[in-house]
Symmetry: C2
Subunit: 216 residues, 2 copies
C-alpha cells in the first residue's frame, strides 16, 4: 500500500508496535518469519511441507492471516503445529495491532520459530513491519516471470525468495532465470530456492537453510 | 482495502469522482469494464486475446494500471489498441484521481468499450469505484479453488467471472465446480466463463457475450 493511501500516523503507530514486538521476540529467543505472496502462490502448502519436515528439529508455531475463513489455520494445525488465526475482516494486510492479539495465547519462550502467513497480497503487507527477523517472498511460476519487476517492493525487501510450483514449468510460459536475474538486481543479498510442494523438489535445501538460520 | 486502513474521507472523495466519471461515460456512450485479479491471473493475456477478437467489431481502448513498468501497455498497444498507462508508484489500486488523468488523452465519444486493467490485487481495488459499468473478476485455476471463499468481496461484486488458465487443470489441484459453487452463492446473477488464453478455449463465448453486452 502506498503512502498516498496510508496516513503517516497509521504507519508510525505500526512502527512503534513493530519495535515492541521485535524486542519481545529477541527477549524470548524466537526467530520470526513474515511470509508474503499473491493469493494462490502456495504459502499454506509451503507451510505444511516446511513444518512437517521441521518436526523434531525446531519448536514452531504459526500465525495465519486471512481476510475470511480459518481454513489455513486448520490445515496447519493438522501438521501438529499450534496455529492462531487472524481474520482481518476485509483488511488487505496484517498490522502490529492484529499481531499483538494473535500473540496473546502463545508462549514465545517455548518456541524456536514463529511463522506469520500474511494475507495474500503482493503489495500492501510489505509496508507493515511486524517486527519479524526476515521477510520471505513466495512467487509461483504460474504468475509469470514479470512479477518481480512489476511489484518490486517485496522482492527488494525479502531476505529469502521461494519460487514455488516449479513442477508447472513445462506447462506455463515462465523464464525462471528472468525471475532470479530481476530479484538479484533488486536485492543482491537475497537467498533463493526453487521448490515444488507437489514433487518435494528443493524443499530439503530450503528447510535445511531455515534450520541453520534459526539456530545460527 | 478495509475501512480500518482507508480513511472515510479518501473513500468519499473517490465516490464523488466515480459519480463524475460515470456521468461522463454515459454521456459519451462508452461502456467501461474494471478488470480485477491477483497478480499473474492473466489479465493482460486475456486483454490481448479479447482485443484481437474484437477488432472490427467494437472500438476499444485500454487503461493499464501497474505499480511499476509500462510492459502491459506495450503488450496491449501491440494489438493495435490505444493504451494509456498509469504507473501508481507503489499504490495498490487505481482510484478516481489517477483515472481522471488517464482519461485526458482519450476521446471517449469515439469508443464503444473502455477496459481498465487494475493493479494486480485481489483485495484493495474492490473498494475503489471507478465509475465502471461492470467489474470483471479473473481467477487462475493455479491459484486454487479456495480463493472465492477467502477473498469474497471481489467475487460478490463482480458481474462477470473469468476462470482462466483451464489448460492447467490436469496439473494443479483445483476443483472448478467448487469455484463456481462459491461464486454463485456470493452472487447468483454473476455470468461465468471458463477460459484458456493458451488454447483459446472459452474465449469466443466470452467475447460474443461482451460484444452483446456493449451493444445491448
Amino acid at each position: 500500500m502506498a503512502d498516498i493511501n496510508v496516513g503517516r500516523n497509521i504507519l508510525e503507530a505500526n512502527e512503534r508496535l513493530a519495535a515492541e514486538h521485535r524486542r519481545r521476540f529477541a527477549q524470548a529467543g524466537v526467530k520470526v518469519l513474515n511470509l508474503i505472496s499473491s493469493p494462490g502462490a502456495g504459502k499454506t502448502s509451503l507451510l505444511e511441507q516446511t513444518l512437517s519436515r521441521l518436526a523434531g528439529r525446531l519448536r514452531c508455531a504459526v500465525i495465519e492471516g486471512d481476510i475470511q475463513t480459518d481454513e489455513d489455520a486448520r490445515r496447519v494445525a493438522a501438521c501438529g503445529v499450534r496455529a492462531v488465526q487472524i481474520e482481518t475482516q476485509g483488511a488487505c494486510h496484517l498490522d502490529g495491532a492484529m499481531l499483538a492479539q494473535a500473540l496473546e495465547p502463545l508462549d514465545l519462550a517455548a518456541l524456536d520459530l514463529l511463522i506469520i502467513e500474511n494475507v495474500g497480497n503482493l503489495v500492501c503487507p510489505v509496508d507493515f513491519d511486524l517486527g519479524e527477523d526476515l521477510k520471505v517472498a513466495v512467487l509461483s511460476v504460474a504468475e509469470g516471470d514479470d512479477k518481480p519487476s512489476k511489484y518490486p517492493a517485496l522482492f527488494r525487501e525479502a531476505g529469502v525468495l521461494l519460487v514455488n510450483k516449479i513442477d508447472l514449468l513445462p506447462y506455463v510460459s515462465c523464464d525462471l532465470e528472468r525471475i532470479h536475474r530481476t530479484c538479484r538486481a533488486l536485492n543482491p543479498k537475497q537467498v533463493a530456492f526453487d521448490v515444488s510442494c507437489k514433487t518435494g523438489e528443493g524443499l530439503p535445501a530450503w528447510v535445511d537453510w531455515l534450520e541453520s538460520w534459526v539456530k545460527g
